[in-house]
Symmetry: C2
Subunit: 725 residues, 2 copies
């Protein structure tokens, strides 16, 4: 900073004490008070739910709990409740609290699902599922499978043949088995299994527990039954260009490829960039139940829940007290791989259904995952024993600047009015073994809502012959000597239960079409207009950028006062390549959301929340959104559509994606379209230097004139309210 700019000193922020609730640091919160119908299960409710399920069995039967979660109320119960609640009316209707419980009988494949009523203390249903229905994996089980594999003599015997260097540390990645319908005399794929991929740490640095083992894939892949904890068989992986499997050959040394910083000489010169919010954050967090939170920010308000399957879920989303979304969540993912060779042909992960976005959520750390003033939400899920499991800091909430929202300069007066955009972000990061997804709900000042996915983490790799590193591989990219990263697609399905302007919505799509030439109406061939198509029957729909096809959620009974158009939100979806696996494949049958960009279904209570179906693990299809859409429900009467927005990446791998990949970002945006009568951000205060306190780096405050060789980089420059910065 130059001396003459030192006269302005930042006032210290007022030191107000923060209102804080009493913290219970040694035990989980328990409340016997009735919970809000949308509140995630409280710890005591989780215990009560698993106890109820257990009570349906003789005492000597041991249950292994997979899911203990809130069963959300039926819409016809909940809508009046939420309406009254928002209006401040009382008493509120009474709605029974229910839990949905999935469990197996320990040590067996016997799978059951129960609905328990916490209000009445009754088990309302309890059924055995199957065949071809399997529960999700969970952390305990995955760790147990790894441990088993590392001590299984048959597996170690095979590994022995590779003649790995002294002191080698093996690492096992247990993968979801997938499905191919194969039935032999010895085996049928209706047994829940793990396909394990074996790696090792850098043999030259075996003691480094964070060595990137994905740089050392081994060609042995055991299949393990997690319920009986037994070895089913050992697959040997093809490592050439075709399906042939050679015998196991001795390991040949190759280099490491580490992502941990101590393995690299760090670049220099990247100076700190900090976000400061001297008056605090602009949002508030309140509890609507023991575990449910209400967020309010700049006319937005919504309820936040969290569950094992979807992670962070939003309910009752309003802007300026106008209803927009009844429920929002990421409902499913599918990641099918391109390699058709055994056992890779089954490689297709449904991370939400097969494991759970909630279950895999990172414990986010201050100063690492966001900048600025950050509030963390924690959650409570359930363990295999049916007891509560603390999930600390699984959602971080912060604001971020997002550049210019609108600007206009009147060139006649030279007056510029500029308004910056601010976003509120609710972020969850999940780790799925090798891979990470950064999932965020983003709100802004102009009534836009965005769902953002960033895909990062480490590629799932497989061995490839060292002498093939100079030949293009048909199914993937050689990202390191001896390492193939197969091509794969990532499909995401966002479930949108809308209430644009209230319940009673209709999904439509608009297209722009040329007007035919006509001497009177279009004599110069330049005219075009917009057509509107109402979706009156459930089904699947394609994007079409060539027609500027735009899907909109409209409310025909609420009209824009300026132009009488039905109020609407438009959906801006990135186009994707649909599933490449053919229609007879299990990948296709299972990923019911990977063949159309848009599905519209008729809302049904309880069982239609997840695009791939309730049970995706080794699933066989017929239980997801494609099947529901195929009912051809009439949407024109009920006007209660659910919109499924599907989007994807086809990950044609680059060497740059290894050993850890720079995030690939996808965004789905919901924008008001004749919902407001004018720009809803006209009342956002203009962007001013007094508020933003930017720092000018030019020597003089304004015009850069004929300087030569000025170097910027040291502290300096002009800023209205910056001290020593």
């Amino acid at each position: 900073m130059t001396a003459n700019n030192n006269d302005t000193v930042a006032a210290p922020a007022p030191q107000e004490p923060v209102t804080q609730a009493t913290l219970k640091t040694t035990s989980l919160p328990t409340s016997s008070s009735p919970q809000h119908p949308l509140g995630p299960l409280s710890p005591s409710e989780i215990i009560a739910s698993s106890d109820l399920a257990r009570s349906a069995w003789p005492e000597n039967v041991q249950l292994y709990f997979k899911v203990v979660t809130l069963r959300e109320p039926a819409k016809k119960e909940l809508v009046p409740y939420l309406t009254k609640e928002r209006a401040g009316e009382s008493p509120l209707p009474s709605i029974d609290r229910r839990a949905f419980v999935v469990y197996t009988l320990k040590g067996t494949h016997s799978l059951h699902e129960a609905v328990v009523n916490l209000t009445t203390g009754k088990v309302e249903s309890n059924v055995r599922l199957g065949p071809f229905v399997h529960p999700n994996a969970d952390g305990d089980e995955i760790v147990a499978v790894e441990k088993f594999a590392l001590s299984c003599p048959e597996i170690l015997n095979e590994v022995e043949k590779l003649k790995l260097p002294e002191g080698t540390e093996l690492v096992i990645d247990p993968w979801i088995y997938g499905a191919d319908g194969l039935k032999t005399d010895k085996f049928y794929d209706d047994v829940r299994l793990y396909q394990c991929y074996i790696y090792m740490r850098d043999p030259a640095n075996s003691s480094e527990a964070d060595s990137c083992h994905y740089a050392f894939p081994l060609p042995i892949s055991p299949v393990i039954d997690p319920s009986t904890m037994t070895l089913v068989r050992i697959d040997v992986l093809p490592t050439g260009l075709d399906e042939k499997v050679d015998g196991l050959k001795p390991y040949v040394a190759r280099p490491a490829n580490e992502y941990i910083p101590e393995a690299h000489t760090m670049r220099s010169g990247l100076k700190p960039l900090r976000v400061t919010q001297p008056e605090g954050a602009s949002f508030t967090v309140e509890s609507f139940s023991d575990m449910g939170r209400t967020i309010k920010w700049q006319k937005w308000d919504f309820k936040v829940g969290f569950n094992q399957r979807e992670g962070c879920v939003l309910y009752d989303v309003h802007y300026d007290n106008k209803p927009l979304f009844y429920r929002l969540s990421l409902s499913d993912m599918s990641i099918p791989y391109a390699d058709p060779r055994n056992p890779f042909h089954r490689k297709s992960a449904f991370d939400l259904g097969d494991v759970g976005a909630g279950l895999m959520a990172n414990n986010l750390e201050l100063g690492c995952d966001c900048l600025g003033s950050i509030y963390y939400l924690s959650a409570v899920l359930s363990g295999a024993d049916g007891k509560p499991v603390e999930m600390p800091n699984v959602v971080c909430i912060h604001e971020q600047d997002s550049g210019i929202l609108w600007k206009h300069t009147n060139y006649r007066t030279n007056r510029a009015v500029v308004v910056r955009n601010r976003e509120l972000v609710l972020q969850t990061i999940i780790t799925v073994a090798n891979y990470e997804y950064i999932l965020a709900y983003v709100f802004n000042l102009a009534g836009d809502f965005t769902y953002e996915v960033r895909a990062t983490g480490i590629l799932s790799t497989q061995p490839v012959d060292l002498d093939l590193t100079t030949t293009p591989h048909p199914y993937g990219t050689v990202v390191h000597p001896g390492v193939l990263a197969a091509y794969h697609q990532h499909f995401f399905s966002l479930r949108v239960d809308p209430m644009i302007g209230g319940q009673g919505n209709t999904i439509v799509y608009d297209e722009a079409h040329p007007i035919p030439r006509d001497d009177k109406l279009n004599p110069h061939g330049v005219g075009y207009t917009v057509s509107k198509t109402e979706i009156s029957t459930s089904g699947g729909f394609d994007l079409d950028p060539s027609k500027n096809r735009v899907f909109k959620i409209t409310n025909p009974s609420v009209r824009n006062k300026v132009n009488n158009l039905p109020v609407a939100y438009k959906v801006m979806v990135p186009p994707m390549q649909y599933l490449l696996a053919d229609k007879d494949s299990f990948h296709y049958k299972r990923a019911e959301f990977a063949d159309r960009s848009i599905y519209v279904t008729q809302y049904r209570d309880y069982d239609e929340l997840f695009a791939g179906g309730k049970y995706t693990n080794q699933s066989r299809g017929g239980t997801g959104v494609r099947s529901w859409a195929d009912r051809k429900d009439d949407l024109s009467e009920s006007k209660d559509p659910v919109l499924w927005v599907n989007f994807a990446l086809n990950h044609i791998v680059r060497t740059e994606d290894f050993p850890v990949m720079p995030a690939e970002m996808l965004r789905v945006m919901f924008r008001p379209a004749n919902f407001f009568e004018k720009n809803p951000a006209l009342d956002v205060p203009s962007s001013k230097q007094e508020f933003n306190c930017s720092v000018g780096l030019n020597g003089d405050k304004g015009f850069e004139k004929g300087f030569q060789g000025l170097r910027v980089g040291g502290p300096g420059g002009s800023g209205c309210c910056v001290t020593g910065q």
Copy 2:
């Protein structure tokens, strides 16, 4: 901030004086030293250039200068120069400095272009252009046309018929005339003209010079010849649903719709969010000539130029000393409108060619247009008199955080490594009468380059009958009582002259294709692979998301060491709806970049910089990128392709876009694809609280437990190095 977090105090930044060149505050810089071949014309060179052009004419002939700009050297001269310069070799080759000058003979339509050699002091060419060739508009001329219209008795006589309220203030928006080829006995459109649209300020607030006159469009549209400053005719606008034009009727009162903040009650609660860079910015700015700047940031380095037509241009872009781009610029825009009725059928603006992105660049203001530590570049363009015109602060340079770049958590050790992304932004904002474009070059830490456009500002509006505000209009949206905003498309063409890994590039596209079922190779129908198609002949190309078609710039002679693939950058382009005007229309003929997403042409010196052709004003086509591509040049020999990336918005207007529109964003991204041998951002230091100094808003530092009703919002929370913030 809670008291127990007060013990850490931010160290005041060291007070080093900034090295500053002597500033000449009273005169423009002039240098007689030879300029770098890529340096924008210095003020003295501008004067010398216009003097040289003038010297070709008798003294009594007055010239009106439209463009005086650098004529960039031929590639065969410049490439060796830049190569030697980078290698630090000397002496550097001598290259003559040349200027390109466009002028008219004052008061006439006689248009000329000259090339003058500043090194030899010679006029190398000087030719008269036309027919059907017209120069750009300029600020002086536009203001003169407005002034003429406001005092023209015939126009005022027509306005009189509207019986506007007492004290009405008229405002004229002179529009580029466009082209329709119409020839009548009185008139032929090969005369350069303005089509003026007339508005008025809010009659209830006529003294407010920043009243949004676009809320009060009037149905009278005079056509003016700017060279002779004469009225050609007065058009009356159709205001119904069809082409019929009624007689002028008296004005009926309607409400205003203002964007200026004093017209609104501002929302509250949006608290300051500031970007502080206590150690300064991470980039450096150096001069490579009087007006040219070299930017260096995190392994990136490039030269920045600025001209009347394209605004900010980048040259010789390298990452880690590896060549990437020879030249980058936004080369053209076209904004055709949907309304086929006279005179709107001609409405199609080519803002760069018709006026100039450089000419319209905003004088950016500290603390308004960016956050953080900002360096401003200024430029010098030329005026109608051929003299230099100062353009202060036309480019702002700053860094911004861009979320998580990569993250991985090893679930076995629970160690998370997370690296944040940082971006360097070079931003220019242009005001084109009613409208604004925010144009930015964005670089990041992983070798990605992005070109970003945000479209904002005010819609060009037209009158519509008040009683039609409840009927959907075929050509646009009623955004306010009596105000129609016609649908329109925005086409942008980014010109990319690549040198990925050095000169000698080839453009290819990849597609992902299913492998046919085959008992041996693909028995389960899941396999897919990638095909590669080389573009060996110049032409136009389409995107195809259904095939995951990805265009890449490759260098076949430079191979990735890991997998032997040619080094490449892929181009990520948003799909667009092509031009809706038909192929016989003038809109189509003129916008040669609006019918394909990709054009690839053979590089030619000097005249193939602008996708719509050198002279777009009232152009007739045949002079732009479609025509050059149609030469079917063989690209396989020369390997010197130019890539034209075309992208667009179809603006189906919303009420939310008025009276000023929230920005619509488009991004074109260039990502390394097997260019580096591994993730190029492995050496970016991890994201740490010590560095980022975020503030935790939860009462305790970690786990949020069972709190009830905690309100966040006041200053508070935990942060490692934050005082009072």
